[in-house]
Symmetry: C2
Subunit: 398 residues, 2 copies
């Protein structure tokens, strides 16, 4: 089967209420950075995958063609991918499919979201709530913090997970963000800071919740054959391969889920198992050197440790206490700062995760957040309360 | 390379302002019809591609997971594809990519749109106008009939195409729709009926314009190997293969396009050439037996004949007069009735086209619209004024 290699990656800054330019400017910022990073001419791209969550947010339907046009990539094909919070992850998977299927040799994936200045009278939080089931969920609440809280309360009851353990994730991720020059919310926090921040939906306080960001991220993938024939760039730095892709789904409404595994992210577990099988990973905690996981809430990151097989169900809180996932730990998670510290721009997020992992595997991160000798990295993005999940594995080869 | 075969197809009825159920009911209607048609159990599906144009129309973001859940297909992956009017076409292309890439063996593509009863205060026409460039186009008009009219006026000036020639397309397609039991607007029209219908944006009258429909369509594709191992169904009817896929883009704003080819659909020409190259087609008019093309307007169908290589630029009007594309002609186009007569439900349309072509290649159409001995069929869907285009080739093999 065709091997897929990462040629380049790029980010715009992530921040709230960016007033400089429009979403198409941020898309351009990230895509041009990726093209420059890849060392290719943009005309060498033969396909674009556009990733964003909602046309409500930017007040524009069909942004794929507009981005393609803005980037000067007409007449190449473009298609938009959407899977709510997992949009960026599924975009990578679709690019992977196009390359392995022989429909593209060198593909641009670019994701972005504009959340700050909504054109409608609704706030971006209200718009995101429209991604819950508007027939069955929105009428009885409709806010994701509450949906997550339901699951997290059961995790606490079942396994003894504590709010202080969750707070450690916030301390870690906001702390890691201090070492990323484009991060939205670098903070030097204590557990007490998190614990005493305003309650949003118990057990989650303000500092347990991820950010809403304006921003864009881009990734360029190619088939190994094309890259070898067309580029010298691979010779100058470790080549990073995309070696595993997995995706799965779970029932959107909590009430439809199996009670037995209610306090576990089943879709994440299945997506990870599929990605591990493709990449030949047997012992995730031992083999994976660095991971970017979907920390939409601090508790979601704890549950991700379990679903991704980094530990057994119910053990994540204790491992957080043991600093296993800190920058100096056995398996650093969210060195970028994650959705809590770096930022969360829905359609861009899954791609921004890959940008961080590629940067880590190339040993090109800032020295304070660089995971030494990282060769194998994982990205993990999900939608809703883990309704759609995509997991990808990246490997560097000298 | 992996061969891809069609296992099943299904449609809901297309109509304006369906009051029976919601979009998820119509999705279920089409998907279950396709599953039954394929002769498989739904659990044999391993992936879903969800296709729709806008979350504004249904008042729901992230419908992919909701459809997947409604269909009982959790925990399989789902991803939503969107490319405005070309959504269904790109959805087929993405399914094709997944199968050829080894990421799926048996995939459901289901597309739908709800246009009738918008939940917002905007009409569905106003919402569709948001798929033009809201920074640069909407402020100066924003309606697609006007954008198409600009291009068509130049086609008339340059080639002498007449409004009567356009009207012939409306007569043909509404007429063909009389033979499709699920069509929205079967009509027995004369050229004079079309010519005297109310002007919308000259040269287009009401009966030159396609419909707005509520509806859903579904297609099930599989790898040939999987189908041979798992099914007996292929033995009972002609097997239909997906043998070609092409996609391309053009500038969204008319003013950015090359004047030299302003009265041609460049993206359609390039998409067709890519599909023909993959399927080994050299002489489209001679080799293709039946086609469903994107007749968003009568003039768009004429321009499609040219871009798809059925004739030279400027000749389409004359060929319409010669009834080349009528049911009894050399290459019947839009036997279903097309977007003019069958209906246009944005996300479903490109898939509904494939349903018609598969039905034709299996010789399972109603006798009045069945193209005798059809072995090779084409589908063609585009967005905007042909900004994104997808062309697919289907072939039956006994």
């Amino acid at each position: 089967m065709t091997k897929v290699v990462v040629l380049g990656c790029g980010l715009s800054a992530f921040s709230r209420d960016r007033l400089d330019g429009s979403i198409r400017d941020w898309v351009t910022e990230a895509a041009l950075a990726a093209i420059q990073d890849a060392g290719i001419e943009k005309d060498q791209l033969d396909h674009t995958i556009a990733a964003y969550e909602s046309d409500h947010l930017a007040g524009q339907i069909g942004q794929g063609i507009i981005w393609q046009d803005t980037l000067g990539l007409i007449p190449r094909p473009v298609v938009r991918i959407e899977a709510c919070g997992a949009t960026g992850g599924l975009a990578i998977r679709n690019a992977f499919a196009h390359l392995r299927a022989g429909l593209s040799n060198c593909i641009l994936i670019v994701g972005a979201e504009r959340v700050g200045k909504s054109l409608s009278s609704a706030t971006s939080s209200q718009i995101f709530a429209m991604s819950s089931d508007t027939d069955w969920e929105m009428p009885v609440g409709g806010h994701f913090t509450a949906y997550y809280a339901l699951v997290m309360r059961e995790h606490m009851r079942r396994y003894g997970t504590t709010e202080e353990q969750m707070a450690l994730v916030s301390v870690k991720n906001h702390g890691n963000a201090r070492y990323h020059p484009l991060a939205q919310k670098p903070m030097d926090l204590s557990v007490n800071d998190v614990m005493t921040s305003p309650v949003i939906a118990s057990p989650f306080k303000l500092l347990d919740c991820s950010l809403l960001s304006d921003g864009a991220a881009a990734l360029i993938l190619a088939t190994e054959n094309w890259a070898k024939q067309n580029l010298n760039a691979l010779k100058n730095r470790p080549a990073v391969y995309l070696t595993g892709s997995g995706a799965a789904t779970d029932h959107a409404r909590a009430g439809d889920r199996s009670w037995e595994v209610f306090a576990q992210f089943s879709a994440k577990k299945q997506a990870a198992e599929a990605a591990y099988a493709m990449a030949g990973i047997k012992n995730p905690l031992q083999e994976i050197d660095v991971a970017e996981v979907y920390d939409s809430y601090t508790g979601a990151e704890l549950m991700a440790y379990e679903a991704l097989g980094f530990c057994q169900p119910g053990e994540s809180g204790k491992l957080a206490e043991q600093q296993v996932f800190d920058l100096a730990g056995e398996l650093p998670v969210n060195p970028s700062g994650g959705l809590l510290g770096f930022g969360a721009a829905a359609g861009a997020t899954g791609i921004a995760q890959a940008v961080e992992i590629v940067t880590q595997l190339r040993a090109e991160a800032t020295v304070e957040r660089q995971v030494k000798g990282a060769k194998l990295g994982l990205t993990d993005a999900h939608a809703g309360v883990c309704t759609i999940n995509a997991v990808h594995i990246f490997e560097s080869r000298d």
